[in-house]
């Protein structure tokens, strides 16, 4: 059993490396100029947010929150508004999605779509509310319609591929853990 558990620990580490790789890829795709086409002149899809939702659905509230915190810290390094804003919001998003999947919903495609749409809508709307509407930006309503709504749609195009990728990684490691628990010898 000791040997299986240490093998499981190694697999978990490899699994953590894969999640780190997803985080890095999402970060580079979202922030590096010229990789993805932009909407409204400057908008790129929030791939980091989708990764947070997917990981939270597959790994639960604590790990989802931790992943959200890590993703948010990366985003804050390039954010123009508020150091710590993305760290807090993405951590809370990860926590909320993890809790919902653990206690109320199942980890399936329908939940993925609902949580994805909900998270993207809430996060981008909150950003608009805090930094555009309350920030005194002229014609904030027009900005919401012309920039943020198309950005939400653009982001949601990537929801299913990101979820599928994260689920593949999560299922791979869960199989290892279950096998280790079922066969302790």
């Amino acid at each position: 059993m000791g040997l299986l558990l240490s093998r499981e620990k190694k697999k978990n580490r490899v699994h953590a490396v894969f999640y780190g790789g997803i985080l890095l890829c999402a970060f580079l795709l979202q922030y590096v100029p010229g990789v993805l086409p932009r909407v409204g002149g400057s908008g790129t899809p929030s791939l980091m947010l989708l990764a947070v939702v997917a990981v939270a659905m597959c790994e639960g509230d604590v790990r989802g929150g931790a992943f959200g915190l890590a993703a948010g810290i990366f985003c804050d390094a390039n954010a123009v508004h508020g150091t710590g804003y993305y760290a807090i919001t993405y951590m809370l998003t990860g926590l909320a999605c993890g809790l919902l999947v653990t206690h109320l919903m199942q980890n399936n495609l329908l939940s993925c779509i609902s949580l994805g749409i909900g998270s993207v809508f809430v996060n981008l709307s909150l950003y608009w509310l805090l930094f555009c509407a309350f920030g005194g930006v002229g014609n904030a309503g027009g900005l919401y319609v012309s920039f943020y709504l198309p950005l939400m749609g653009y982001t949601l195009l990537f929801l299913l591929p990101v979820y599928w990728l994260v689920r593949r990684i999560a299922l791979g490691s869960k199989r290892i853990r279950n096998r280790a628990k079922a066969d302790p010898s």
């Binding site: 002149g41 908008g43 390094a77």
Partner: protein, 282 residues
């Protein structure tokens, strides 16, 4: 031994030898063609000889290819290495050519403003959630960049530094309402404030507002920073007037300005780290 020379066997051998000699003399010296025996032997042996000759030739070619192939492969690798070295040099040359063109653009600006101190920087990230095109550059406090330092390209004003960490900084562009730059039109000397607007930002435009009632700004006029306030130096081109509009809220006039710098596509920028009249501690 005596008995061998008297034996029938010797007589047969001698007869055959004599016959061959006669045939050879007759065919070679008199008739001038090969003896029928040779011809018959050749007819039988020739196909066999042809077969083995082709096998031997193929084998020879094979071993020759193996021997030459090794030499050709070595030559090929040497040439490929030379190609790789030349490609690296070409890339370096192209990079230097680009940097040269980049700095040449700023030479004019430096000659016009000898008091400017610059720090070149590269755009390494753009905030996708910000509709005003803010971006991150790869220079920070350690490289002499400070908060509120203006950021420019050779074409004109881009924005200013709103966040500076040790090795990178965030730039807010002229499209943002957070930026307020005192500016004027050189032709008419009309003063105003350049600041962003939500609706205009989505079109890549900014606003030159707070113009006086009798302002004569027209489409096509340049808008240049005035230097008031100490954030932006005087004389930096902000853009050109694209439209003249009336503000519905207070009936004042404002100009819609198309920024001179390519805000959404610029890759290399300059941070003006110091100039005469710069206000400090903001």
């Amino acid at each position: 031994m005596r008995y061998f020379f008297r034996s029938r066997r010797f007589k047969i051998f001698a007869g055959i030898t004599a016959a061959l000699l006669v045939i050879a003399i007759v065919c070679g010296a008199v008739l001038k063609w090969s003896s029928p025996l040779s011809a018959a032997a050749g007819a039988v042996a020739s196909p066999v000889q042809r077969f083995f000759s082709s096998v031997a030739g193929g084998a020879g070619e094979f071993f020759s290819n193996v021997k030459d192939g090794a030499a050709l492969r070595a030559d090929n690798e040497k040439l490929q290495q030379e190609i790789n070295d030349l490609t690296d040099k070409l890339i370096q040359f192209q990079e230097m050519e680009r940097e040269n063109a980049f700095y040449k653009d700023y030479l004019g600006l430096k000659e016009e403003h000898p008091d400017f101190t610059f720090q070149d920087a590269m755009v390494i990230g753009r905030d996708g959630n910000d509709p005003f095109g803010s971006f991150t550059i790869d220079k920070g406090l350690l490289q002499g960049v400070a908060l509120h330092d203006p950021v420019i390209t050779a074409e004109g004003l881009v924005g200013y530094i709103t966040e500076a960490s040790a090795s990178q900084s965030v730039v807010t562009t002229v499209l943002s309402p957070a930026l307020n730059a005192s500016a004027y039109g050189p032709r008419t000397k009309d003063n105003g404030i350049v600041s962003g607007d939500g609706e205009l930002a989505s079109r890549g435009l900014t606003r030159f507002g707070y113009l006086s009632k009798d302002a004569n700004v027209a489409v096509g006029d340049y808008v240049v920073s005035s230097g008031a306030g100490g954030i932006f130096p005087a004389g930096l081109l902000v853009g050109t007037v694209a439209e003249i509009q009336q503000d519905p809220m207070d009936s004042s006039t404002y100009a819609v300005v198309k920024p001179a710098a390519a805000l959404s596509t610029c890759r290399d920028v300059m941070v003006v780290t110091g100039f005469t009249g710069q206000s400090g501690g903001q």
